[in-house]
Amino acid sequence: MNTFKLLKTISLLWILATASISAKPALDKEEHPPQKDLKAEIKAYINHHLQDSYDFSLYSYTDEQGKHIYKGFPLPVILWDNGLKVFASAKFHHGETLAEVDGNYYKLYHGKIYKTDADGSIEYDAHHHPVNEKPLDFSLTKNVVFILLVALLMFFMFSKMARNYQKNPLPTGIGRLLEPIILYIRDDIAIPNIGEKKYKRYMSYLLTVFFFVWIINLLGLTPLGVNVTNNIAVTLALALMTYVITTFSGNKDYWKHIFWMPGVPWPMKIILAPIELLGTFIKPFSLMIRLYANITAGHVVLMSIIGLMFIFKNWIGSPLSFGLAFALSLLELLVAALQAYIFTMLSALYFGSAVEEHDHH
């Protein structure tokens, strides 16, 4: 029943957030906005959507007086700047005001927090990058909160499922949906790639990473649109974990194949060693980029197509844009699962190559 409640909550949030779509036409309520500005505004909106933020915004619009109204709730900002500074992100007023904490001034500028003087002035270098000091930022941003929520959801869902098995050897409820997926990961991803003997050690990681990426991608497609996996930091953390596990479970054969490839003449060995070594870094790097880029590209295209609606502003544009966005959303549903699958699959492949025992040539 726990899962049911969660599902209910999610669908409620969905309905709530669908309001953001209906609230969006407010964009073109501005008086005769020049076309160029509208495009710029859509671009800014997409950029804003792709970025992490310090408050959990559900939707925003511009009222008749041209004032931006944000609906949502603030999240705690946690900074380390010669001591722990914790305050609510409401202090920034969406970047419009400075936050003053213990005599220090912080400014939210292009989605980042900078330390400033009391006037909030930002110094720039030659490339128009701010040179102000950046405090170490461990804020509970929108993405962090969302990761936390997904982690809780997964924990409750799967521990509930595990408890069900104690009563009944057959899966019940949501377990009936999840068990085939778990078995698929075990039988078609882990065992063929890692091998019958050693796959058990990696199952926890593979299962967690698959469901984490999948669920978080799917939830990113909801109108809430908190797309966590389009942050390079998140995908870097995931890919780094795969890299660390691969490196630490690499056996003698694995390192031998990197540094002194058997079966090739010695000049080739010297040439191959740096390439192979580089390969070990490229593998997790491509994992990171792939997940990040797929999700980002999907969101950008989807948002752009929705944005077309406000550029066309006629009877043909809206259905067209709706139809395209709908089709693309379906594709994105597939991509959400596919990226999770590929991430898991390639991780398993790398683990497999690390623990594989070659018969000696």
């Binding site: 063929p192 491509s286 980029i289 792939r290 880029a293 699958y341 699959m345 390639l346 492949l349």
Partner: protein, 63 residues
């Protein structure tokens, strides 16, 4: 974005598209020839496509 960047991005997309298309086509052929091995072929196809895609994305970001 400068013009060389855009041209480079276009080239990358053409290359990656051709590569993935070839993989997909070959996989279809293979499945048609051996429908009982379709599971294995699909897995191999996805891995190969993912590798090309990874390189493509890396190049796109460099462009």
């Amino acid at each position: 974005m400068t013009i060389p960047n855009i041209v480079g991005a276009g080239l990358i997309v053409i290359g990656a598209g051709l590569g993935i298309g070839k993989i997909g086509g070959s996989a279809m052929d293979a499945i048609a020839r051996q429908p009982e091995a379709s599971g294995k072929i699909q897995t191999a196809m996805l891995i190969a496509a993912a590798l090309i895609e990874g390189i493509g994305f890396a190049a796109l970001f460099a462009a």
